[in-house]
Amino acid sequence: MSIALYRIDDRLIHGQVVVGWGQPLDCTFIVLVDDEVRGSEWEQDLYRMGVPPHIQVVFASVEEAAQRLAEWESDGRVGILLVPDIDTAVALVKASGRVTRLNVGGIHHRAGRTERLRFVYLTDAEAAKLRELAASGVEVTAQDVPTARPVPLGEFT
């Protein structure tokens, strides 16, 4: 099954990911792609605390993830790949050339962003980056939990 979910979520590993998605997918590994977290053992320990022991967590930089994506995609287990923001997603898509679908799972309010969905706030520039990803062949939808409807990009940008 390999990577079942490629997700942008600014909270990274949290309840919605581990329980909401992880349980129905029977996920047993999570790849967290974030250059900053990759460089901090303390932050990595923090994120491991929220994950049950049967789920492996792999921390990777964008560069490492691009190199190892094929390996994770051929893994017999089910995995979830997380990135914290749109820029990291764009970087991974470009560096790997392998990501074909992207779940916008949680991008919360900050100055300059406007509400597009209850769980998605974007600046105009961020919306444009998502449209560029879609134009390059990536299927982009927004969906916070598996029981919700996947919202097509055109409905929130």
Binding site: D10, R11, G15, V18, L46, G50, H108
Partner: protein, 126 residues
């Protein structure tokens, strides 16, 4: 201690607010507990809510789950503030005990609350 501890409940959705209301209704104690929800927050925004809720004094953070954004952000906050302790798995029993025992150190209050909360979890016969 010159100032009684503040308890900050950190939760998903409206759990924290509901617990604060329940403690006030049962114990008649107001002002000892402050609710913080992670609703609509990224990590930075939740960190800011925690800073505002704790204020300048010592505090115990009562977190709903032993993992997830409520705990990770509480731990980030506590790493920078020595006078803050954390208890996970918050329940009403531990809060009811806490509001009457706030003149101790944050670490001692956290241990006491965890003990009270744990003792309240039982399987009872019909």
């Amino acid at each position: 201690m010159s100032e009684p501890l503040r308890g900050v409940i950190v939760s998903h959705s409206a759990v924290a607010q509901a617990l604060v209301s329940a403690v006030a209704a049962i114990a008649g104690v107001d002002g000892a507990l402050v609710p913080v929800s992670n609703e609509g927050c990224d990590n930075d925004a939740l960190g800011e809510r925690l800073r505002t809720a704790v204020g300048s004094g010592p505090a115990v953070l009562f977190v709903d789950l032993p993992g997830g954004s409520c705990l990770t952000n509480s731990l980030r906050y506590a790493k920078q503030h020595a006078d803050v302790a954390i208890v996970t798995g918050v329940n009403l029993a531990m809060l009811l005990d806490f509001v009457f025992h706030r003149n101790v150190s944050p670490a001692e209050a956290a241990r006491r609350a965890a003990d009270a909360g744990g003792k309240a979890i039982r399987v009872t016969a019909a």
